[in-house]
Amino acid sequence: MQISGAQMVIEALIAEEVEVVFGYPGGAIMNVYDEIYKQRSFQHILTRHEQAAVHAAEGYAKATGKVGVAMITSGPGFTNGVTGMADAYMDSIPLVVISGQVPMSLIGTDAFQEIDAVGISRPCTKHNYLVTDAADLPRVLKEAFYIARTGRPGPVHVDIPKDVTAQIATFDYSKEVELETYKPTTKGNARQIKKAIEAIASAKRPLLYLGGGIINANAAELVREFSKMTQIPAVETFMARGTLRYDDPLLISMLGMHGSYAANMAMSETDLVIGLGARFDDRVTGKLSEFAKNAQIIHVDIDPASVSKLVHAHFPIVGDVKNVLEQMIPLAKEQIDPARYASWHNTIANFNKLHPLSYTEEGDRLKPQWVVERIGQLLGDDANISTDVGQHQMWTAQFYPFTRPRQWVSSGGLGTMGFGFPAAMGVKRADMERVSINITGDGSILMNIQELMTAVEYELPVINVILNNNFLGMVRQWQTLFYDKRHSSTDLSIQPDFVKLVEAFGGVGYRVTTKEEFDAALKDAVEKNVVAIIDVVVNRFENVLPMVPAGGSLFNMMLEYKEK
């Protein structure tokens, strides 16, 4: 088939069964947009900012497990998209980002809207391409999708000069991907697995340390099976929320900087860490030399560079968590005696009793934690939950009753304010049956507020719940604790009228100050099925607790802090 480069992009997207592309046009990518206009195979959603296009694609990818696709133009379009790519890279989200570039003849001349896109995206993508000949496009696009979704998933960037999108060449998408130098290990080494099972069978206080890689690998079902069968208690990372049901008796809670007392103590007392798809992030481990000090470590990860990167693994296993669990389960059935860990369960039950995750009500003032819990009580499994970045994000990770993988979408590795709303649009597009809630802060929501227009236009009724504390709350918390309450540039007392603001875009707004008002607003927004902002006035000085100060030891948690 002899077609133009622009047509090739469309044909490739069709062949990859892409059903939605998030994007924003411009000069360099116009040939491709012209072809988008002509086709009826996939939907194109025009966001109002390129960063949002990439985040929306991330949300879609997170909710479905498929590759998300974003399309942007050269120069400023591209640079606006970079934050999204970096975010996807840090959280291993499969993404293909296609950008326009100035024509080949102008590359390197500082032409209008030229930027060295592949130079910029290199450190924040899994791989990237500058396509200099349309004849390469079928292979490049095929490789891009393949690389994005295999191994440790990640974003792949394809930069296409304008004249290449006009160039006619042969399109043949049937060839298999052949990358001699890229062959991810997917099966675990049988000998290592055998040794790991033996270690588990002889451990007294083993602990499952569940990471986001489990969600990426669609391995949550197997984790549930494995933990039930072995009766080994589990802690989840922030990224892994939803792997086990919130009410699973074996799930202790989230661990790390804002993890629960019980989860962090269990990690400090365990004699065998079974790390599955977790990368021992510094927000999780705290002070490395004190992390799981008395434990041996089993580390299962698809990325060889993650294994033993920060914490030495006694049993390193490189492979896809799903495959490795499939290999482990039959051995575990034979060798592991679930009755063995009874006293370990008692120890953990005591930790839980000593300092459960909790908060104190104070008169009529709404507590942000209450709001999160309440959304969980009212919607539970019927909602998909996204967040922005800050205190509200941590409270959501702590208090929302997650019941399934992919219910939870948040920016972990990069911690990107402005992620939540566009991601929630992507989630909504992926799962129209469920309510898509973005729990956000008064700081974060303003970072991509223009997406109200996209959500209204494309009928993606995301409900933004602002936990409004008139502060950049998380930074204020650090200023309070570590900078003697010097609240430098974090006071957000001056605010827009969020109700009027959302109304101006054609959505519905609520400002609530009491529990009854909150219940009524959420119910109304869900029933009306509209784009909404619920601006919740919460206690200004609430802190996220427990807290392990950065670089501190997990077992030295700050459990209480009162301030007015």
Partner: protein, 158 residues
């Protein structure tokens, strides 16, 4: 606790394709690893190039470097040598006013020779182990070299 840093030589076999060198160099700079020298050339009659990188780091750092290098899509193989033959070349420009005989004797001792003689200056070349090249450059100082250029190491496992 400071981990011991050592000089390391890493060889990387990569596909010959655009921007592969910047991927490798970018990986080093982006992660704060130091490159002491880097040489690259195509492997004859193949679609690969061999890159030789001299760096310094602890065992742990070098292990991360090799793993991260291996993650790059166009990278075929990464060798971190223990037992290898390593050679480096240097060219030195010396004023003609210096003693030709003494210079010739010195360069000979380091596997070298005079490669060019002009009206004002001559150029000598040595090719030897990097440490010996250091010694040569130390010794040649007394002939007042005007310019010195080193090639960076190439290495092969024994």
């Amino acid at each position: 606790m400071m981990e011991q840093t050592e000089r390391r030589v890493i060889s990387v076999i990569v596909m010959n394709e655009a921007s592969v060198l910047s991927r490798i160099a970018g990986l080093f700079s982006g992660r704060g690893y130091n490159i002491e020298s880097l040489t690259v050339a195509p492997i004859p009659e193949s679609k690969y190039s061999r890159i030789t990188i001299v760096t310094a780091g602890s065992v742990r750092v070098v292990e991360q470097i090799t793993k991260q290098l291996h993650k790059l899509i166009p990278v075929l193989k990464v060798y971190e040598h223990a037992d290898l033959v390593e050679t480096e070349m240097a060219l030195v420009k010396i004023p003609m006013s210096e003693s030709l005989g003494d210079i010739e004797a010195l360069t000979h001792a380091y596997n070298g020779r005079i490669v060019n003689v002009g009206s004002d200056t001559m150029i000598v070349m040595v090719a030897d182990e990097p440490m010996r090249v250091n010694h040569f450059l130390e010794a040649i100082k007394r002939f007042h070299p005007k310019e010195i250029v080193r090639s960076g190491s190439v290495a092969l496992e024994r």
